[in-house]
């Protein structure tokens, strides 16, 4: 943890909210991105990111300075997002009730770089992430957007490295399956044929 961050944390613990605002300023983007990737829409992501910072502020005395502040903050945010997703699952349709993977279809000619240029990748990515259960989604996000090692992901999620390895493997297998199905559908095969 940087000296500046440590100073801000100490000042915030002493009741200086402006010092905590500096931490919010520094980490707003990674925390918001995590919430957005987990929840899939900007309104809920904003709310979750704000709430994660509020929780961090009220629990700042439990922060262990030997840990990276970013990992601690992302841990709070990811746990909060998992709670939101669980609550949402209670009230909304389950993923099985949603239409088949037609939306994640990607034309054969569409290479990811080209899709970025067309601004389509963001939707594709969110739809792919949306096919994963929350405990698979978190390690994928932490790995791809934060370039965290397995150990860091394990610390952030509060699980073992072996669990992280298994979840990443299963998540990738599922993403590959969905991407493959989407491609098959785009090529004109039926959903039943694609899932065979």
């Amino acid at each position: 943890m940087g000296d500046q961050e440590q100073t801000w944390v100490e000042q915030a613990l002493a009741g200086d909210t402006a010092a905590f605002s500096n931490l919010v300023e520094a980490y707003q983007k990674p925390v918001y991105n995590l919430a957005y990737r987990m929840l899939g829409n900007s309104v809920e992501a904003e709310d979750a990111a704000q709430e994660a910072f509020i929780r961090a502020y009220t629990r700042l005395d439990t922060y262990d300075p030997s840990r990276k502040f970013s990992s601690w903050m992302l841990s709070i945010a990811s746990h909060y997002c998992i709670d939101v997703l669980r609550r949402r699952r209670m009230t909304l349709l389950s993923i099985e009730e949603l239409p088949p993977m037609a939306d994640v279809s990607m034309p054969r000619s569409a290479h990811p770089e080209h899709l970025v240029a067309r601004g389509q990748v963001a939707d594709q990515v969110q739809q792919l992430l949306g096919t994963l259960p929350e405990h698979y989604r978190t390690p994928i996000i932490l790995r791809y957007w934060y370039d965290m090692s397995y150990r860091e992901i394990a610390e952030t999620m509060g699980v073992t490295e072996s669990t992280v390895k298994t979840r990443l493997h299963r998540a990738r297998a599922r993403l590959a399956e969905c991407a493959q199905q989407g491609r098959d559908l785009a090529e004109g095969r039926t959903y039943e044929q694609a899932t065979l």
Partner: protein, 186 residues
């Protein structure tokens, strides 16, 4: 195609993407992919999904995030403060009322007004006693009937009980439910 063997290679694919597969395993993986159509297709799909994720940029919040956070934090602090104030006010009011009650009663007694609360209390006590007696009588009657039914009444008595119960149900339905339904219709 050995499905179990392919499963292990798929696990290696994930490690390979993270650069955590040793050179020997990497060689074995690629050699397997070259000879297994299913794994080759999975490897392509895994790589495609992976490059899509890598290409996705960091999502950014709308400008003014910190300001909104400060407003929210201040609002929540204010809410907590208000709750605390109301709780303290409530506790204070109860304590004050308890302290003031003896003084109030003594003033009422001296001015001769205390007779009213005594009358009210006596009346309430009478009503409560009456309600208790009625409820007790009902309970006792029900308990006697249950005991009677359990100890084996004769066939004739049994029929009489069933007819009486049915009659009471019909009467209750006519009088209470029928009247309520009539009121609703009107």
């Amino acid at each position: 195609m050995n499905k179990q063997r392919c499963e292990a290679y798929i696990e290696w694919m994930s490690l390979a993407l993270d650069g955590m597969l040793g050179p020997t395993e990497t060689r074995l993986l690629h050699s397997h992919i070259a000879s297994c159509l299913s794994c080759a297709s999975t490897w392509q799909a895994v790589q495609r999904a992976s490059s899509m994720l890598r290409a996705a940029p960091m999502a950014e919040p709308q400008p003014g995030f910190v300001k909104r956070f400060e407003t929210r934090l201040a609002y929540q602090a204010e809410q907590r403060r208000r709750t605390m104030v109301w709780m303290l006010l409530g506790i204070g009011a109860i304590v004050l009322a308890l302290l003031a009650l003896p003084s109030l009663l003594s003033v009422l007694r001296l001015t001769g007004l205390l007779v009213l609360p005594y009358q009210v209390i006596a009346y309430a006590r009478g009503v409560a006693n009456w309600l208790y007696l009625v409820a007790n009588a009902f309970l006792e009657a029900s308990w006697t009937l249950i005991r009677f039914a359990c100890t084996g009444p004769t066939g004739g008595t049994c029929l009489l009980l069933v007819v009486a119960a049915a009659g009471m149900i019909v009467l209750w339905t006519q009088l209470v439910v029928g009247r309520l339904a009539g009121q609703r219709v009107r």
